[in-house]
Symmetry: C2
Subunit: 426 residues, 2 copies
Amino acid sequence: MSRIVALDTTDIRFPTSLSLDGSDAMNPDPDYSAAYVRIVTDADDGIDGHGFVFTIGRGNDVQVAAIDSLAAHLVGMDVEHFLDDMGAAARHLVWDSQLRWLGPEKGVMHMAIGAVINALWDIKCKRAGLPLWQLLSRMSPEEIVALVDFRYLTNALTPDEALQILRAAEAGRDEREAALLDTGYPAYTTTPGWLGYSDEKLARLCREAIADGFVQIKLKVGANLDDDIRRLGVARDTVGPDFPLAIDANQRWEVAEAIEWVGALAQFDLAWIEEPTSPDDILGHAEIARGVHPVRVATGEHAANRVMFKQFLQAEAMHVMQIDAARVGGVNENVAQLLLAAKFGVPVCPHAGGVGLCEAVQHLSMFDFVAVSGSREGRMIEFVDHLHEHFVVPTDVRKGAYMPPLAPGNGMEMHESSRSEFTYAN
Amino acid sequence: MSRIVALDTTDIRFPTSLSLDGSDAMNPDPDYSAAYVRIVTDADDGIDGHGFVFTIGRGNDVQVAAIDSLAAHLVGMDVEHFLDDMGAAARHLVWDSQLRWLGPEKGVMHMAIGAVINALWDIKCKRAGLPLWQLLSRMSPEEIVALVDFRYLTNALTPDEALQILRAAEAGRDEREAALLDTGYPAYTTTPGWLGYSDEKLARLCREAIADGFVQIKLKVGANLDDDIRRLGVARDTVGPDFPLAIDANQRWEVAEAIEWVGALAQFDLAWIEEPTSPDDILGHAEIARGVHPVRVATGEHAANRVMFKQFLQAEAMHVMQIDAARVGGVNENVAQLLLAAKFGVPVCPHAGGVGLCEAVQHLSMFDFVAVSGSREGRMIEFVDHLHEHFVVPTDVRKGAYMPPLAPGNGMEMHESSRSEFTYAN
């Protein structure tokens, strides 16, 4: 038996606003940051659990304070008690009635809980000697279902339906794992498309993206329609008529405005419009989805929890589900999202970029392919080539594909040197 | 010109879990708490601005940290600059792109912003020598519209439509203010209905509620159906066939369960079912609303922002709107809620209780009556007789009606002695 002896938190901030990397119509000057947690146990195995919440600067200290507040639930506790039943562990944290009042299940407190749950998963993976995607992929359907909190989901997905989905994907797990190890998981890139870049830089980065084998390019839009038309023209001319181009408005528009704006860009043959309006506006997204057809609507990186995802699917407001590894209540809620997507037949194309989101979320897509949806068809993971050097297991993207990480863990561990170098001191 | 010199915060907790006051199906042991903020200026008028976020215990420190993080936006700034354009002041805080990432517009950071906006309103009221309800009620329709952030609302409510609603209510403002000063605003009580009380206590408190003139009684339900049937039987027998009885499930149920459970209780002639399921589940509430008809669905105390309220109305999922004075982005967002309710013809019956929620939210209902909906018909404010003694301007409920406060301010100021006595020290 071993006990948790510390929740060690760090306020980590990279001064990315000094360049224009990461700028979009809503977030002009992000400082990519992580409210980082390390769970330390008294086991003599040298294993710590790592997790984080991604933020874009100010308020990262508040996010750290929220993680710190969870120490009372964990420090001194038997770690195996949590690891042996990760479903119960997640519910123990999410359903603390007093903390739940601060959301419920949304915002700072919910993301803090997610970071801690992910750090527990990191310990579980490292003790098992497996990367997260492989650990999850080797669980039985029953074990996977036991991870999920079905509360508020049962009018769209019951435990029995989830079990059927997972059982249907049991056959072929080995072949898909082999295929994954061989050719990886498709990646698309947002690197060429930031708003701050010149047309020349946009065209050059588009050429490089195709040469690198990415399967799609995404451009930020929404600040100025004339600019968007010009930039999409440059991109379409550069990549040719058949290469997938998506656009991302980062919540910039009203509903009617989104329909009109996307209409004016539809000539460029768009793979999807991402985050056209408020991430809370399920009915607005549904209206937009009808209005911009056949352009598909992609969203989810800012959707607060599984109840929101359920409704986006019920309302046919989300044609592409963009999960995020650091926005919701940890791996457990991510698994709920994957099961909901499978139930509704919607592809999952995770949000990544930021700090360590690529490293983390790839595990979820790979698990989805091996054991849930059973498919890579129409699915891809976002990739931004930024800040990977700070991670102990950085992404390995080759020929436009994420190659599966083999090192044990959830991918969220940052080098100690990076953590101390970028610790924020007011 | 005067400047803001400090944001003085306090972690205030009342040990209410020692009794069973406030217990419900989801919150068995709340410690009613306030993350309290006092905005201090260098004006020599002796006026401070007070605001708070209501929480139920653990995590109140996180909420305080979130308020503290806003000091950088306020301290050293010209306070008149904010007070002269409260719409701009609210947007300045809500639309800080880095802080917005932590929600967006939901949870700990959004509530912190709301507390600070409310504290600015408190200064504005005290400088004008008016209670908040009267200050708002004397603004022109144009000034009121300028308070509201219409972003993400325009597919349901435009500034022009809001203006029409407010202009239509201009005639008769004086008469309604006089009526309010004369007979107050109707109140209903939840005091008899907490889950922890014996049947005898329930019956006695029901009798007292009627003797006190309350217009409705609400019972907590959802823990055990047999108990609920028995308790509602006791209540109905006590109050007679015609007195309005509402029930509150505090988010306890799945959608199908809610329809079934309310069906089993409908024999008691229910005024409304409150919070039947997740406060994020707009479509679930709509399904419940159809399933429990003619029992009405009331919700809103945990709805995160105006975008959620908009959709509850669009989906016909909310027949009674329960605004909360400390859950959203302050007075400004509350005004948006009132305008949405008026647009959709839904009565506003605020959530209160907790710490100081009665003192605060009465101002919003009174403003609604005088200048927005123009009606008290079918409208009432929740009342729980608890912790009022800690407030500088405690509620004055007589003959089942909130009598309008006349002292300047927003109602949120707590006695300094109470603040120091109940300051939480781990």
